[in-house]
């Protein structure tokens, strides 16, 4: 990937070359990933704090305190589409709003006061305290403060070690998983009777636009017991009860595999990877679950469910598919899980992936991406707008998948766009989601607006 230049402007900075691969099946290709972002190249990544916030925020009855200056809280307030069937407390943005004085003299007093005020006004059972960049530097002892508050109020006050600079978003996921483990606590008496039969937890779904509810409906129709989702529409109680499950299924692998491993070690709960994105994957994942923890009765109900759903949704998806076959897509998303499932979803619709990239994918995930895509597909790790623009042009993509920051880039380039971010207002999970997805692709790629810009009428 050397010396790619558009006029005399650099497209690929030197330190970025190893993060880019063009799929050559016969070659062994190593992509450099999982490293700190290169300075100055306009990475699309966020920070450690952001990762922690994404994973923990959907816990509905928790009070989430952002210990830091106001920006960190302001830019992440209620921008996610996680839905709740219970408490709305998680949507409140509590922040210690550190000012210059606090940076000089420390923010501990403010944090202690903040906890007192939240307990007095909100009576939460659990408080998460997110550390931001400056907290890591000014040396506030958040751990000690949390411990004292737990003793004082007899509730859980859990520090989340998420100083923005201390790694990448993925380290934030890990910090969040540690906080969840702390909330669940060690093995205790609720585990005495052994795991609840036919029960499971579902890890790595944040209930965007009710996605976790769709999956819960399937599982309950089959007759299985879903104890807790991690973390969409969860509560401190459901997470504590989760220790009684027979099985953990993991969807968003990037954020939750660590937690699943820990739960296996600490509570003996085995785990399986699943994917409720796309009809085929949804059926496959449900089957995996049913055969793992169900009885023949569950299997029957599962067969009945997928027959009914398939009858309803497959013809609708097929009808849309006709309008999409032969298009090309460029995908740039957060994690490897999302990337892999999107390639397959587009393939289901007859759309070929010509560019694929992630912010935080792992080596193994990039191997899968290579295996799943054709020769010549561009694979990008932690890319930036300059590279995206260059390779989208080169691969002649008709569609880009990305988040809010990528959307205007696609539009300026006259390319259709699929919103795959935490703000979307339509579910993409299960049968319902597969249809939504096909409809969204159709809406954008077949819009008459593109004819206008191509000089047509």
């Amino acid at each position: 990937m050397r010396n790619v230049q558009a006029s005399n402007q650099t497209v690929i900075a030197n330190q970025r070359e190893a993060h880019i691969v063009v799929n050559e099946k016969q070659q062994h290709q190593e992509i450099v990933c999982d490293t700190h972002s290169v300075s100055g190249v306009v990475s699309q990544r966020a920070c450690v704090y952001c990762g922690a916030r994404v994973v923990l925020n959907p816990i509905t009855d928790a009070a989430h305190i952002v210990h830091g200056p106001i920006g960190c809280a302001s830019y992440t307030w209620d921008i996610r589409g996680s839905l709740s069937s219970g408490s709305e407390r998680y949507r409140m943005s509590f922040s210690t709003d550190l000012r210059e004085q606090d940076i000089i003299f420390g923010g501990e007093k403010k944090l202690i006061g903040a906890i007192d005020e939240i307990v007095e006004n909100e009576h939460p059972e659990v408080i998460f305290i997110y550390s931001t960049c400056v907290v890591g530097v000014i040396g506030d002892d958040v751990v000690a403060i949390a411990k004292k508050a737990e003793e004082k109020y007899n509730i859980r006050v859990i520090p989340v070690n998420s100083s923005g600079f201390s790694g990448s978003k993925k380290d934030g996921y890990k910090a969040a998983c540690r906080a969840i483990l702390s909330l669940m606590g060690p093995r205790d008496e609720i585990m005495n009777d052994g795991p609840i039969p036919h029960s499971l937890n579902y890890l790595g779904d944040f209930n965007l636009a009710g996605e976790a509810w769709i999956i819960r409906n399937y599982l309950e129709t089959i007759g299985l017991k879903l104890i807790s989702v991690f973390t969409g529409d969860s509560s401190s109680k459901s997470l504590k009860d989760a220790k009684q499950a027979s099985l953990n299924v993991v969807q968003c692998a990037g954020s939750m595999t660590f937690l699943a491993r820990q739960m296996k070690e600490q509570y003996d709960i085995p785990f399986e990877h699943v994917r409720f994105v796309g009809i085929e994957d949804t059926i496959r994942s449900l089957r995996k679950i049913v055969y793992s923890i169900g009885t023949s009765e569950h299997v029957e109900r599962f067969e009945a469910l997928i027959e009914e759903k398939s009858k309803e949704y497959i013809p609708q998806v097929e009808a849309v598919k006709e309008r999409l076959i032969g298009k090309k897509v460029a995908i740039y998303v957060g994690g490897g899980f999302k990337a892999i499932s999107l390639i397959e979803q587009f393939a289901d619709l007859g759309i070929e992936t010509v560019l694929i990239g992630t912010q935080t994918g792992t080596k193994e995930e990039y191997e899968s991406l290579k295996a799943l895509t054709k020769e010549g597909t561009v694979i990008l790790d932690d890319t930036n707008p300059t590279e995206l623009e260059y390779f989208m042009k080169q691969t002649k993509a008709d569609i880009l998948v990305g988040g809010v920051k990528e959307r205007p880039l696609a539009y300026k380039m006259g390319v259709a766009f699929i919103d795959h971010n935490h703000e979307r207002k339509h579910p993409l999970a299960g049968f319902e989601g597969a249809l939504n997805f096909a409809l969204e692709v159709d809406k954008t790629v077949n819009s008459p607006v593109w004819n206008l810009i191509k000089g047509g009428k």
Binding site: V42, A73, W77, D97, L98, I118, G414
Partner: protein, 483 residues
């Protein structure tokens, strides 16, 4: 003590916290200002998240690609200093974007670990590698103020930079002499949409006045679709033009609540002795009058017929809607200058401003709001350095029927179902914020119409049922007599 002063006492329900913030941070404001300069990029010295959050907010608001670099400070950089990271970042950025200006902003993190960006930038400059690029360090600790302070400071620091550059170029020692004496005026804008800036250009054009507007985001952040995408805008104030600011006849600064120490107009007055006219944003008839009349007085001219006509049309619109306006019980929130000017528009139309709130900390806001409300013998809850948790409670308490402010008010809108017009920054749940018009007589009448139409809808919807419930009584006696 007036009632307002009493109401002013408690700014937030929570003492140790901001609950649902109504402000952003300094690097955000500075980034917004920098987008109004031609071929300009900025790099935010701090952890990766800061630049990403700012980009995300601006991209959602303007529906334009927003490229802002980060020095991506890691643990190592935090402990041992981030100079190396920042230098690599500047180098990558310049190679990839070939900008003319690079704003180097700090963050909470960079300031707390004591990064000296001035000296780092000086080292880069002295290395000679990027001598053709103007590297401008701007100190914007997130905790140091809100986006308003960051915005003005960035403009001021750019002016300062080019002053020094001019001194260096011309070998001037102490007294800075403007390069040429122009007949133009500077107009420093804030809170202006792209369309607002185009409106200012049109108005001064009608007056035959040459205005140097800075910053100018009108084309950069509301760019027409073009067959080839250009990631670094050629629109906005060019660096060669910035010197014009030093030779202007006068400076008009729109937005007059910011502290003097941040004010570009004050700086131009101090250094170049250019008359400074500070005034509110030209929203509402009074504030637009002041803007137009100031320009007319600077040039000793009559106000053009066309502008007089526009004023007459606004007046006519105000009369048309005055009875409906009188039913408005309004909450305004967001940037302090914007809230102040919208309050003026509401008051002059006979609306009641029940809650007026800003997240910035600036006591001038309170004093001026108090005066303004007092002029109409009205009272309302005035909040500064506040949060949405408090604003929410006050809105419910004061029985507000229309909210005007930026999108973060959507939380209250969703919970209370109160009609809500998005004005200000950020607007991330509606489209088209960049092309809305609020400035001038035209913009004022559009905003007024939008507000009044929502009040009319409130009156009309459910009107039949309401009247029926209130007044209709079945004639029970008659029925009795029949039976």
């Amino acid at each position: 003590m007036s009632e307002n002063t009493l109401k002013m006492k408690k700014q937030r329900n929570y003492v140790n916290m901001e609950v649902n913030p109504c402000k952003m941070c300094m690097p955000m404001g500075a980034s917004l200002a920098l987008k109004g300069f031609k071929r300009t990029m900025n790099i935010i010295h701090g952890s990766q998240g800061c630049s990403t959050y700012i980009r995300r907010h601006m991209a959602a608001h303007f529906n334009e690609p927003i490229d802002i670099a980060s020095s991506s400070l890691s643990e190592e950089g935090t402990v041992y200093g981030g100079a190396k990271n920042l230098k690599i970042g500047i180098s990558n950025l310049v190679d990839m974007y070939q900008p003319e200006i690079v704003g180097v902003l700090t963050t909470c993190l960079a300031e707390t670990i004591g990064e000296d960006i001035k000296s780092i930038v000086k080292q880069v400059r002295e290395s000679g590698d990027y001598s053709e690029v103007d590297l401008i360090p701007i100190s914007t600790p997130g905790y140091g103020g809100s986006e308003a302070e960051g915005y003005y400071l960035a403009i001021k620091d750019i002016l300062k930079y080019y002053t020094h550059k001019m001194v260096r170029m011309h070998d001037l020692e102490h007294h800075v002499t403007p390069r040429y004496e122009g007949n133009h005026i500077n107009i420093i804008v804030s809170n202006a949409t792209c369309e607002d800036i185009r409106e200012i250009k049109r108005l001064v054009g009608l007056m035959g006045v040459e205005a140097f507007i800075l910053p100018d985001i009108s084309d950069a952040l509301d760019a027409p679709y073009q067959s080839t995408y250009n990631k670094l805008s050629d629109e906005g104030v060019s660096r060669d033009d910035i010197y014009k600011a030093f030779a202007a006849r006068a400076t008009i600064e729109l937005g007059d609540l910011i502290h003097e120490s941040y004010s570009p107009a004050v700086y131009l007055k101090e250094v170049y002795d250019i008359d400074a006219y500070h005034m509110p944003l030209p929203i509402g008839i009074h504030h637009t009058d002041r803007f137009i009349e100031t320009i007319a007085s600077i040039y000793h001219m009559e106000i053009p017929k066309e502008i007089q006509k526009e004023r007459g049309r606004l007046l006519d619109a105000m009369i048309d809607s005055h009875k409906h306006s009188a039913e408005g019980k309004i909450a305004l929130f967001g940037d302090m200058d914007l809230v102040y000017s919208m309050t003026s528009l509401c008051m002059e139309n006979g609306m009641k401003v029940k809650v007026a709130a800003t997240g910035s900390m600036n006591s001038r806001f309170y004093d001026r709001m108090n005066l303004l409300l007092g002029r109409y013998r009205e009272t309302g809850v005035i909040l500064q350095d506040t949060d949405f948790e408090t604003i929410h409670k006050e809105i419910v308490k004061e029985d507000v029927n229309l909210m005007v402010g930026h999108s973060d008010g959507k939380f209250i809108w969703e919970k209370e179902g109160i009609d809500f017009i998005r004005v200000g920054f950020p607007v991330h749940d509606h489209i088209g914020a960049q092309r809305k018009l609020y400035f001038g007589y035209k913009g004022s009448s559009r905003l007024l119409d939008d507000m009044v139409n929502l009040l009319l809808d409130q009156k009309h919807s459910g009107y039949r049922q309401r009247m029926y419930n209130a007044f209709y009584q079945p004639n029970t006696k008659k029925e009795d007599s029949v039976s």
